[in-house]
C-alpha cells in the first residue's frame, strides 16, 4: 500500500464517519461540526486527485462560508435549551432502508464496469482552469455570475424583517 492509498483511506474515513454523525446525531450543533470534518475530508480527496485549486476553494467557500452560514442558522433558530430537541422523525428506519438500497444499487452498477485504472498527468491547475472558464465554459461562467447577483439580492429581500404589517 502506497502513501497515497493510505491517505485515501484516511480521508475516506474522515468523510464517512462524520457523515454518519451528520445524519444520525440528535444534537444539531454536533451535526454541523461533523459536517466540518466531512467537508475537510472532501478537500483532502480533491488534493489527492490533483485538483489543488479546487481543494483550496473547498476549504475557503465550504468551510469558511457555507459552514459558518449553517452554524449561524443553527444558533439563530434554536433556543439554547432546545438544542437537543429530537431532530429525527419516525421515518428514520424507512429512510435508512432507502439509503442502503440506493448505495447497494449504485455500488453494484459501479463494480460491474471495468474502469480505467491509470491516471492522467498531474500539473498545477489554476492557470488551465482560468483559461477554460474564460473560453470553453464562458457561458456557464457568466450565467453563474448573474445567478450570484440574483442570490445576493434575493437573500436580502427574503431574509429582511417586514417593517409594517
Amino acid at each position: 500500500m502506497t502513501t497515497t492509498d493510505a491517505f485515501f483511506w484516511v480521508f475516506a474515513a474522515m468523510v464517512l464517519l462524520p457523515g454518519v454523525m451528520v445524519v444520525f446525531s440528535r444534537n444539531l450543533l454536533y451535526a454541523a461540526f461533523s459536517l466540518l470534518f466531512t467537508l475537510a475530508g472532501v478537500a483532502g480527496l480533491y488534493a489527492l486527485l490533483g485538483a489543488d485549486f479546487l481543494a483550496v476553494t473547498q476549504v475557503l467557500v465550504y468551510i469558511g462560508g457555507i459552514l459558518v452560514l449553517i452554524l449561524f442558522g443553527v444558533m439563530f433558530t434554536q433556543k439554547v435549551y432546545d438544542l437537543k430537541a429530537e431532530a429525527m422523525s419516525f421515518k428514520r428506519r424507512r429512510a435508512a432502508v432507502l439509503g442502503v438500497l440506493v448505495f447497494t444499487a449504485l455500488t453494484a452498477a459501479i463494480l460491474s464496469v471495468d474502469w480505467p485504472q491509470s491516471t492522467r498527468e498531474m500539473q498545477p491547475t489554476s492557470a488551465p482552469l482560468g483559461n477554460l472558464l474564460l473560453s470553453e465554459y464562458l457561458l456557464p461562467f457568466e450565467m453563474i455570475s448573474v445567478l450570484l447577483l440574483v442570490v445576493l439580492i434575493g437573500a436580502v429581500v427574503v431574509g429582511k424583517k417586514e417593517v409594517q404589517e
Partner: protein, 106 residues
C-alpha cells in the same frame, strides 16, 4: 489493492446515500440543508475523480474540475437562499420543523 477510480465512486455513492437519508428522515430544515450539501459534495467528488483517471500519461483534462467549481458556487448560492428562507419562516412561526410547514398543501 491499489486505490482506483471505483474507490472514489463507491465513496461518493456512500456519501450520496447518507445525504439522501438526511434529506428524507430529518425534520429540522437546517439538517435537510446539510443533507443536500452532502449530496452535492458526492457529485463533485465524482466529477473530479473522472477528470483524474484516464489513459496513462494522457493530457490532463480539467472539465471535471470546472464542474466541481460550479457545484461549489451553486452550493453556496443554495445555502444562502435556503437559510434566508428558513430564518424568514422562523420569524413567522418560531419553528423550522419541516413536517409542520404544510400551509401550501391545502
Amino acid at each position: 489493492m491499489t486505490v482506483g477510480l471505483q474507490h472514489y465512486l463507491i465513496l461518493s455513492a456512500a456519501l450520496a446515500a447518507l445525504g439522501m437519508i438526511a434529506m428524507v428522515s430529518r425534520r429540522n430544515a437546517i439538517t435537510i440543508l446539510m443533507g443536500i450539501e452532502l449530496l452535492l459534495n458526492a457529485a463533485a467528488i465524482n466529477f473530479v475523480a473522472f477528470s483524474r483517471y484516464g489513459p496513462s500519461g494522457g493530457a490532463p483534462q480539467f472539465g471535471g474540475q470546472v464542474f466541481g467549481i460550479f457545484v461549489i458556487v451553486l452550493a453556496a448560492a443554495e445555502a444562502a437562499i435556503a437559510l434566508a428562507i428558513i430564518i424568514a419562516i422562523y420569524h413567522h412561526r418560531s419553528s423550522i420543523n419541516a413536517d409542520e410547514l404544510q400551509s401550501m398543501q391545502r
